[in-house]
Amino acid sequence: MTIHWIGALLIVAGSSLEGFRRSNQLHKRQLALVEFAQALTWMQNEIVKRQTPILEIIRTQMQRKGEVAVLFGLFQEQLTKNQSLLNDAWTKAVDAYKPVSNLLPEDLEWLMRIGEAIKPYDRQSIDKELSFIIDMLRSCHQEARSRAVQMGKVYKALGVMGGILIVLLLS
């Protein structure tokens, strides 16, 4: 009898954990998007207003917490260790970042465009391109936030209820 209870508890716990994991992933995605939007806005200002060299920007971005630091760390590695060119280094960094990211493929596609955006020789072109990407990331963030609000609770409830339902069906 006890074994049945333990089994039931494990099913409910497992299912609930999966619900919480999915809900958490939604939360992390919107958090990552807002972090990237902030980091890129700062980068845009540094490039356009202060003409800060990219390696210096990377060093500062790496001091941030979260996924921004991970991506910029990979970017620095490509630029300095592998001696890749800017766009190439960024593309490779985003590719390496994909497996550890909480972002969706459509978010990553916008991030991928940053390498091309910071390549031009004049700041005005960089400004325009980065503004566009930041706007798109912000709109992704809006969508991610409302999705997290709506679906977060649904996933959690579904996880717990689903577990209970399975236990009931099995009993």
Partner: protein, 312 residues
């Protein structure tokens, strides 16, 4: 000497180029790029090398990718950070080497705003000939007044004027054992970053301790700023010619500063045809050095005093 050596004694300039071009340059000119004066990269045309022995075309035609490679290496992946320098048409990189740039520009109110795409790079390798000014120093030193006398270096482009000027700056700013008087506070107004070859404001070439450089500053304002702020005993300026420059130089001379400067001209007679320059030459300058491919000749009051052969 300039520290141009990177890994395995390779000239730092080589790191700017794609690997295949690096190998070709090393094969033709060794890792230290001995004798190379200028490397010209033109997209779609063979790379051209100007050396002491003449001009050579390499079997390498740079592509758009190579352009991006070189542009990124020059700017450490941040070409936008060189936008202000780019408006002048060149950038000075670490080691004091100058990279001239040509391509398609964008204009704003009739002035160059930015370079949109690059088609050519002219990489001029900074060189210094330590000691090339030594033969003239005794003649230019006034032992009674204990000061350096004004001197004008004249010559056509690439005749070695700036190289000689740089060595004057080195000699005067150095401490001289036994004749300490010769060491003076020296200010360089380096409008084009050519004399001291500054990178981030720091001179990259060999100088003594008593040197202050105002980098990329217009001569006129620079001379006034230096006199006010650094109280120089000797001031160095490159490529004078404009009427305003001459008046500023005369003002500086009246404040007791010894002036050493260069001017573009094939001969002294050519300079004398310019009224204001003639006034300067007659009233204040007794020494001038004529520079050409063969060497440097010092004249005092129009009389030839010393000739020094130019080293390759």
């Amino acid at each position: 000497m300039i520290n141009c050596k990177g890994v395995d004694g390779m000239h730092t300039i080589l790191f700017l180029f794609p690997e295949r071009l690096q190998h070709l340059l090393i094969e033709s000119f060794t890792v230290s790029l001995a004798g190379v004066e200028e490397i010209r990269i033109r997209i779609g045309r063979p790379v051209q090398i100007e050396s002491h022995h003449g001009t050579v075309d390499l079997d390498y035609v740079p592509s758009q990718n190579d352009r991006q490679h070189i542009a990124e290496k020059i700017s450490q992946h941040s070409f936008y950070s060189l936008e202000e320098e780019m408006k002048k048409g060149y950038v000075t990189i670490e080691g004091g080497h100058r990279v001239g740039i040509a391509g398609k520009v964008t204009l704003e109110e009739g002035r160059v705003k930015a370079i949109q795409s690059i088609s050519s790079f002219a990489i001029r390798i900074a060189s210094e000939q330590i000691g090339c000014a030594d033969p003239f120093m005794d003649e230019l030193w006034d032992p009674i007044a204990r000061r350096w006398q004004h001197c004008l270096l004249i010559g056509p482009p690439k005749s070695g004027k700036t190289t000689l000027l740089r060595d004057f700056a080195r000699y005067i700013s150095l401490h001289h054992q036994g004749c300490e008087d010769r060491s003076k506070k020296i200010s360089i107004v380096d409008e084009r970053s050519e004399i001291a070859a500054c990178h981030h404001g720091v001179p990259q070439l060999t100088f003594g301790t008593k040197i202050d450089v105002l980098d990329r500053c217009p001569k006129l304002e620079g001379m006034t700023m230096m006199i006010r702020s650094m109280s120089p005993e000797v001031m160095i300026v490159d490529e004078i010619g404009h009427e305003r420059d001459i008046y500023a130089i005369m003002d500086a001379m009246y404040t007791g500063v010894s002036m050493i400067m260069t001017a573009h001209a094939n001969s002294i007679e050519e300079l004398q045809k310019r009224a204001i320059m003639d006034k300067l030459l007659k009233s204040e300058i007794h020494h001038y050095i004529h520079c050409n491919q063969t060497g440097y000749t010092l004249f005092k009051n129009g009389r030839k005093i010393i000739f020094s052969e130019r080293k390759p």
